[in-house]
């Protein structure tokens, strides 16, 4: 970007020392002062350009395989486009969007996505943090504990959902059997509204808690040991150490998991789809656990209205951006206050 000004400046004396000496100059065309200036220029070019080079592969691949779908769906969301005929589209302007905003199903899906997101993400991250803390102690057989925690994540959504569907079956399922044994009536886990959302959330929590715990654990390992030592010298209990040392040091990682889980919750799809069984994309007879991801799938893949499904996707994106913007504003305000 600013390479031109770079060259205008007087070259700094080249770097010297082991680093330079270890590698003999391969450019044999000049005497040593020019070599050093050549090298310093190269060096400065390197510091300037390397950040771009480092982020380039990601953007190149994204450009090749992510951008086209994104633009295509943006275009599709403004058209009537059917899966049965992708070569024939009618311009609709914003009609897909206005239709969606008037659709009960869309708002219902948005609400479900929110509630399922909250009841699955919050306990999940809290438990993950606790588990990571425990795993961070010196444990006998630490590998085995970690593997065990990660086993749910290794299980495919398909088999996890199948097992949970059986657990939550209203007739003869394990959960209802237990409820029954303490004298309560069986719950229709799939067709009741809170019951189904609870069941879907439990699949999500089960699958992802160990995963987040591992991420936290990795970050905890990078917390300098001395911090804990000085904290314990100050008489801090383990819990106080956890609160006042671990959590603050983990802040970037916690922020990361919150962002990723929020995005993941917004796109929640596989678990409710498979939990629903046949016609799973409807998310229950009253759409009681139809998430935005399911609604999108139902519109685009089952009903074949690609244009409409694209509009759902773009609305999802806009909602996420909105959340991000609000977050940012709040964060800024907080920082100012401090």
């Amino acid at each position: 970007m600013s390479e031109t000004t770079e060259y205008a400046e007087t070259p700094l004396p080249g770097p010297s020392g082991e680093g330079g000496a270890a590698r003999p100059a391969t450019a044999g065309r000049a005497s040593s002062p020019t070599t050093s200036s050549w090298r310093s220029r190269l060096y400065r070019w390197d510091t300037k350009a390397s950040p771009y080079v480092f982020v380039a592969p990601f953007f190149l691949f994204f450009g090749a395989f992510g951008l086209f779908p994104l633009l295509y769906t943006g275009w599709a969301s403004l058209h009537r486009l059917e899966l049965t005929n992708l070569n024939d589209s009618t311009w609709l302007g914003l009609e897909n969007y206005t239709n969606l905003l008037q659709s009960d199903y869309f708002w219902n899906a948005l609400g479900n996505t929110f509630t399922i997101g909250v009841i699955s993400t919050v306990p999940q991250l809290a438990m993950a943090l606790g588990i990571a803390h425990l795993l961070n102690y010196k444990l006998r057989g630490s590998t085995l504990w970690r593997v065990a925690m990660l086993a749910p994540y290794a299980t495919s959504v398909a088999s996890a959902s199948l097992v949970f569907t059986l657990l939550f079956a209203w007739d003869g399922g394990m959960v209802n059997w237990m409820i029954g044994s303490v004298g309560f009536d069986p719950v229709n886990w799939r067709e009741s509204s809170w019951g189904s959302q609870f069941a879907v959330s439990s699949i999500v929590i089960w699958r992802w808690t160990g995963y987040n715990a591992l991420i936290y654990l990795a970050a905890m390992q990078a917390v300098p040991h001395d911090l804990y030592e000085s904290a314990s010298l100050d008489g801090a209990s383990r819990w106080q150490q956890f609160r006042h040392v671990t959590i603050p040091m983990l802040r970037p990682t916690i922020l990361f998991t919150v962002v990723v889980s929020t995005i993941g919750a917004t796109q929640l799809f596989g678990e409710p789809l498979l939990f629903g069984g046949t016609a799973g994309s409807k998310g229950g007879a009253d759409h009681q656990f139809q998430t935005l991801g399911l609604y999108l799938y139902d519109q685009g893949w089952i009903n074949g209205h690609l244009g409409r499904a694209s509009a759902v996707a773009w609305l999802m994106l806009l909602i996420l951006l909105l959340i991000a913007a609000v977050n940012l504003l709040i964060a800024r305000r907080l920082r100012k206050d401090r």
């Binding site: 049965t84 059986l166 069984g277 409807k282 007879a285 009253d286 209205h305 409409r308």
Partner: protein, 435 residues
């Protein structure tokens, strides 16, 4: 700092070598253009769950007779995942299977919107139109007379019932007598259900689900969701109304075990004898047998349903974008020949769409014994010959699903009133149709 950098370098080097090897392997193994090095042609057959071509040994037989052909079946478990993929493949013209199965509820949409993307099998060598049921043939034929798919199986629908449960509920158990009792009128079947419920053995219901009653009644309808001009008439369609009413009576009368078909818990319902009757299209007979288990042998029986109808079935088509259209056409034609379809029936009771073989059909001995030696072939053949010709529509599958999985289910499992259920179904259908 240096203690770990040596190690990390090693790790990265290993990783790089692995990746290189991996991409080389990928380059080798991704060679799949249908003509293998030995001069053989590989034909891909795309199907969803239930066709049984492979299980009946048809591929093996064909490969033996045609040494230069190899057949690969690409199965996707559920049609609701298979069908959109098929559409996407047809649209892009890439990745299509040489032979593609089409479910009956999608055939009209295929005929009306994808007709140009299929070979005309009606004109293929060795195909006799007269061998197939007339309505089955018409279903897969475009307005200008192009036949995009040949019929594999059809779903003539009978009623299967558990004699042991009927007996305990003081109901007649003779199949002829039962058929006579409810002949022509599903209300009589429902009335029998009411009787059953009065003395129902503990923990059992009359049917598995209200939706299965809906589907069974609707299977015999002459008026379905569309009229001849392709206009939706689901609101006032007589066939739809009859089916809905019957399903509502079952749901409201507490006669249903409230299971959802093809759920794991539905299987448990069979095994635990939770219901006494289930509408059984031919393809379901084997399912009942397998899922109820050996303990159900001789306890199940089969009778003619109140009305004759068709529930389910499939076609085979040849996409024009395929690489080996000629060979694929030959294969599709061969696979749907009457004698081949009879072999599928012998294996898994899927009923042929070719009436010429009805007299020779033999169900497996096990199946026959399982259903108390009921004359399975005769029952199904009788139904097959009486299936009314009806108008099918573009979004039949999605409309049907909206009614059963939204409307009926709301009444059956969420305790809503039939009016509320129907309203919800209508709203869903409007959304499905993009109105």
């Amino acid at each position: 700092m240096h203690t770990s950098s040596g190690r990390s370098r090693r790790v990265v080097t290993y990783a790089a070598v692995t990746a290189l090897a991996a991409s080389l392997l990928a380059a080798c193994s991704s060679d799949d253009d249908g003509s293998a090095g030995d001069g053989k042609i590989t034909l891909n057959v795309g199907t969803f769950g239930v066709l049984g071509l492979k299980q009946a040994g048809l591929y093996e037989e064909y490969e033996k007779a045609h040494p230069d052909i190899r057949i690969k079946e690409n199965v996707i478990e559920r049609n609701d995942a298979y069908y959109p993929k098929l559409l996407t493949q047809l649209q892009s013209g890439a990745g299509v299977n040489d032979v593609a199965a089409i479910e009956v509820s999608n055939i009209t949409e295929i005929v009306q919107t994808q007709g140009a993307k299929f070979e005309d099998l009606g004109k293929a060598e060795g195909v006799e139109k007269s061998a197939y049921l007339d309505w089955k043939w018409k279903q897969a034929t475009t307005e200008d007379g192009k036949t995009v798919g040949l019929g594999v199986d059809i779903g003539p629908t009978a009623l299967c019932y558990r004699k042991d449960l009927f007996e305990k509920a003081d109901l007649p158990t003779d199949r002829e007598q039962l058929a006579k009792e409810w002949a022509g009128d599903w209300d009589k079947y429902v009335a029998l259900g009411e009787k059953y419920m009065k003395k129902a053995p503990k923990g059992t219901k009359f049917v598995d689900s209200a939706s299965s009653v809906y589907n069974a009644v609707f299977a015999g309808a002459t008026e379905r969701y569309y009229d001849e001009n392709g206009e939706e008439i689901y609101e006032k369609s007589q066939g739809r109304k009859d089916a809905w009413d019957a399903a509502m009576k079952v749901a409201r009368g507490g006669m249903s075990a409230k299971l959802k078909q093809f759920d794991p818990t539905w299987d448990q319902g069979f095994a635990n004898a939770r219901f006494a009757t289930v509408a059984c299209p031919a393809w379901m007979a084997g399912y009942i047998q397998e899922k109820t288990g050996p303990g159900g042998k001789g306890k199940w029986d089969m009778a003619k349903a109140p009305t004759d109808g068709n529930w389910g079935g499939a076609f085979l088509g040849v996409p024009s974008a395929g690489k080996h259209k000629k060979e694929a056409t030959e294969l599709a034609v061969w696979l749907t020949r009457p004698e081949q379809l009879a072999k599928i029936f012998a294996k898994q009771a899927s009923f042929p769409s070719t009436p010429s073989v009805y007299d020779e059909l033999k169900p497996s001995a096990a199946t026959k014994a399982y259903f108390s030696d009921a004359p399975i072939t005769r029952i199904y053949a009788g139904v097959a010959k009486n299936i009314p010709s009806a108008v099918y529509g573009v979004k039949d599958a999605q409309i049907g699903q909206s009614i059963t999985d939204i409307g009926v289910l709301q009444v059956e499992q969420q305790g809503k009133s039939p009016e509320e259920g129907w309203e919800a179904a209508q709203k869903e259908i409007k959304d499905v149709l993009g109105q």
